[in-house]
């Protein structure tokens, strides 16, 4: 297929304008467009870069070559987590050579003009694209949140392509950038669930995990959440869950997603009555919740919170539940500097630290070695942590509500709130 390029895009490719770093980035965006079957590129207004997490030396050399050849990002670009806590280097246990490379990778992104946000929740760190904005974002939860909650338009841009899009200000015109690919194709009806459950924070990551598994390649439409009016952090947890257990990058939630005031609008030109509808039952929710825990028994070696990165409100909730009590096992809150700055203003950070909370900033506990070396079991309220913990860290996850996590951390063993699910 021929790709139609603008005079500017052609000039960059031919080296008639811009530096050689930008030219290489344009080669990669055009090459990706060819691979994806796109027939043109599309201007984007922002980028979120997932490629700053160290996976091997080759990725570092790629970004350093772009930077050395003069490439700079041409649109506002935030960075996802790296492999290091730059504010507290000793927190991460990695050998010196890998540490050096992980640092060089983060530095290369800074040098190219990225805003060093080092967070997987850029949408809570000031990057709030507007409805309809065409963007090139990486990090599956951020992609799902941008499409679902903000109504911006992005595919899942992974390593290498994300920074190339940021430099060129272009993305391949395909997938969720186009109207016709954003229509809902599977209806998930939660109206049969108890309203009490729908008001609980812990319901949302579980629903997300279930949606991810059910959706497959479909664009799901969730209907029946209108009355419970989920808050931003609940939507964040839902999106992260769906993007971990499946490939969901856009989830229409009727009454919340800007493109989904109702089912008919969400499914666009596809008649809603021709689509499959799955009624979500309490049994499906309970089974999904149970699937997020791999450990049995009541031993807890650590508690990990903040995937996606915790918000100020979520940190304050931890302080409230602790109510002055100290923790008996390590509790990690993964978050960004934008939250640490806000917490410092009200001294929440020192109050939490005094009670035993350890902040993990710029990174998180499932992408780099931080969890206790001799630990086996990690408790979390995040479906995403629960999904990735075993594979990435070897620790068995135990999933629970934030209150269950904190009560367990204080008691030093698993505490369940049986009333929550009855």
């Amino acid at each position: 297929m021929t790709i139609h390029l603008t005079p500017y895009e052609n000039a960059v490719l031919k080296g008639e304008t811009g530096n050689t770093g930008t030219r290489m980035a344009m080669e990669i965006v055009v090459g990706a467009a060819r691979i994806l079957g796109a027939d043109a590129l599309l201007p984007v207004v922002s980028a979120h870069i997932d490629g700053c997490l160290y996976h091997g030396d080759s990725g570092v050399l790629y970004c350093e070559k772009l930077a050395a050849d003069g490439a700079k990002v041409s649109v506002p670009s935030t960075t996802n987590v790296g492999a290091l806590n730059l504010l507290k280097p000793e927190q991460v246990r990695i050998p010196p050579d890998r540490r050096r490379m992980a640092f060089r990778l983060m530095e290369a992104h800074r040098r190219m003009g990225c805003r060093p946000s080092w967070t997987c929740a850029p949408y809570q760190a000031g990057a709030r694209p507007t409805r309809g904005a065409q963007i090139a974002w990486g990090e599956s939860n951020a992609v799902a949140f941008a499409n679902t909650v903000l109504g911006a338009r992005t595919n899942r841009y992974g390593d290498f392509l994300d920074i190339a899009c940021a430099i060129t200000g272009r993305a391949p015109l395909y997938g969720l950038h186009k109207d016709e690919n954003r229509f809902g194709t599977l209806i998930l009806d939660v109206s049969g669930l108890d309203m009490r459950l729908l008001r609980e924070d812990v319901f949302y990551p579980v629903l997300g995990a279930l949606v991810g598994r059910l959706a497959g390649q479909c664009v799901p439409v969730i209907t029946g959440l209108e009355q419970s009016a989920p808050q931003e952090d609940q939507l964040k947890a839902l999106c992260a869950g769906a993007a971990s257990t499946g490939a969901a990058a856009l989830i229409h939630i009727t009454g919340i997603t800007p493109e989904a005031p109702d089912i008919e609008t969400a499914t666009g030109t596809i008649p809603a009555q021709t689509l499959e509808t799955i009624r979500i039952t309490p049994q499906m929710i309970a089974a999904t919740r149970d699937s997020l825990s791999l450990a049995s028994g009541d031993t807890i070696d650590s508690v990990a919170l903040g995937s996606p990165h915790f918000s100020v409100d979520e940190c304050r909730a931890v302080l409230r539940i602790l109510d002055g009590r100290a923790t008996a096992v390590p509790v990690f809150i993964c978050t960004g500097r934008h939250v640490m700055d806000a917490l410092a203003q009200s001294k929440c950070d020192t109050q939490l630290s005094r009670l035993g909370i350890e902040f993990v900033v710029d990174t998180c506990v499932v992408v780099t070695p931080i969890l206790p070396e001799n630990g086996k079991t990690m408790m979390t309220n995040s479906a995403k942590f629960a999904h990735y913990t075993k594979g990435n860290t070897g620790h068995d996850p135990v999933f629970g509500s934030l209150k269950e996590c904190i009560e367990s951390a204080v008691a030093g063993r698993l505490i369940r709130d049986e009333a929550l699910w009855s």
Binding site: A32, G51, H55, S58, G158
Partner: protein
């Protein structure tokens, strides 16, 4: 036997086919230092993809698989060519970056219902994939 596909990254390659008989995510499924399939229980677990005409009908998983693909090519132990059954950008983008970095060329072709099996000797020429000997045919002198 010759099949034609769509060339995603052009080039020539030649070698023995290795077909991955179950979906795989390279991230967490292929060791970038050895090229061995490490996914527990995968039909090709333990086999090395280095130098192979790699046939993958279905790709799944993390976009960090691009990074594993690039690392393999950087280490000089990537597949000779990628022959994929479904449109997917993750592994081809790794091959694209390796080409731009001038590390090694790994042509990529997409074709539906690829009839070739592990052990077949294949030659790829841009969009044309030729079987020059089947897996069970006696070796010519």
């Amino acid at each position: 036997m010759v099949i034609k596909g769509e060339s995603l990254i052009g080039g020539q390659a030649h070698g023995t086919a290795l077909r991955l008989d179950a979906p795989i995510s390279f991230w967490g499924g292929v060791n970038p230092q050895t090229s061995a399939v490490t996914l527990a229980g995968h039909p090709q677990e333990g086999m090395k993809i280095s130098g192979k005409m790699l046939i993958i009908d279905r790709l799944i998983g993390s976009s960090s698989s691009s990074a594993v693909m690039l690392e393999l090519l950087y280490n000089g132990i990537g597949p000779a060519a990628l022959i994929i059954g479904t449109k997917d950008a993750i592994l081809p983008v790794g091959a694209l970056v390796a080409q731009q970095m001038q590390w090694s060329l790994c042509p990529v072709i997409i074709a539906e219902g690829i009839p070739f099996q592990s052990g077949d000797k294949l030659t790829l020429n841009d969009n044309k994939l030729t079987r020059i000997r089947t897996a069970d045919a006696p070796r010519e002198q």
